[in-house]
Symmetry: none
Amino acid sequence: MYSKERQKLIYRRLEADGQVVANELAAEFDVSEDSIRRDLREMAAAQQCERVYGGALKLDRSTPMRDRQNIDVAAKQLLAQAVVKGFSAGMSIFIDASSTNLEVVRALPSGLDLTIFTNAPSIAAILADDVDTNVILIGGRLTPGVGACVDSRAVQDATLINPDLYVMGVCGLSDSLEVTAEDHDDAVFKRIIAERASQIVLPVTKSKLGRRHRYTVLPVNEKIRLIAANTEQSKLEAYLNCGCEIEIVSDA
Amino acid sequence: MYSKERQKLIYRRLEADGQVVANELAAEFDVSEDSIRRDLREMAAAQQCERVYGGALKLDRSTPMRDRQNIDVAAKQLLAQAVVKGFSAGMSIFIDASSTNLEVVRALPSGLDLTIFTNAPSIAAILADDVDTNVILIGGRLTPGVGACVDSRAVQDATLINPDLYVMGVCGLSDSLEVTAEDHDDAVFKRIIAERASQIVLPVTKSKLGRRHRYTVLPVNEKIRLIAANTEQSKLEAYLNCGCEIEIVSDA
DNA sequence: GTCATATGCATGTTTATGACTGTTTATTCA
DNA sequence: TGAATAAACAGTCATAAACATGCATATGAC
């Protein structure tokens, strides 16, 4: 029995049961727990499971936004503060769907007379009563899981706007220095806005670093300002070479 | 059982019940109360719950509802129940902005496979994670005070849809037997949807009766099904003559 | 043979947990 | 009102299990 084979079986078990226990697997496959742990470590690195003390859990790929909202809120608020600091009066800004961006619009100071473009109803809903913000909503079919309109209708409208700034909801920032997304249409839409915007802000929590999803939005480039929360400088060295600006915020 | 897994389950319980009790959880998971308290402490630190003496509460991180959204909630929920009772599988329904309609979408039963059209981000935001509901968002400039897109862009898109049902957010129902609205563009938009829809549902709280605003949407007619909360039959006699269907719901 | 990989074992470290301490809190009853 | 009381609390410690890591061995391909 080879380890790859074993990992496939573990993955099946995860899909079926939602969780696996390390010592049970060791007994079942008649290998040491160390080997099982090695498997789980590799699988976790390949985004096939979530490691926990004692075993592993099935990776919930489509965590609904309402759950994601409540993870790591402190870091997201920290990022939000840093993001809005870059806003100045009269700017037009595209803000798409992400739990971090919810905090961004909540942290929006009043009196800036901004024009906010968005394809995410959750973002627009927060701004609905904000009289001195001009909100332009991109419509279309709402894609569940993304929480925004990214269909052909939305794309059509997206090609008509030219925001000064794009606050991108980041799904993952891969080690190959690319911004990645889980949903195809979402990736396409993001790419269009990214091309049209004068500048791009990427607020990222630590968990987004090194995560590669199925679709690439764009490579990290000079147009991007990266804001990372609670991250070591060393982990970001690679991105500096892409020419992007980097800021680190920390609550410590 | 792992602490991570346990915390996820606790979080689910919180979402479902709104609160958890420490010693009950300890008994349920067969761990000491200390462990449960540790879990709750961690979850509170991650903004996943609010700690209280004896357990924890679900964290309400919805935007503070403004003004009218908090008044007469019981009546609105009553109306919402009556409205969704008229929904059947596969229907396409337009739901516009109103505090009553927020309750309507919250009361939406699952598994109906509906198509919901809306020009209100607050409505769409609630439905964003609902996988078996197809949400089509009408975009455009968001009109503050209305909380929906009612500009020329929105009107353009509105003329392309043909909903089976229109759940209208009612501003006022005048004694001259007309549906009225405060905002001009909102009134125009409502009239367009009302013309295109096969049927119209008008949920009204008592305070809406006899109220006339600046703009008339349309006269009460045969296409309209009026649902009134906590209202005397006598007050509605006049509307019956318009040929509309009338239902009275009451919590008494 | 060499090389790459997989495995088991020994190592020191980290983690989750229950038990114990004293303190804080809500409630009960005078 | 205020004192009495039991429950819930935070913090510390001990312990056993799980952990990462380095190293030696085994297996199979070339």
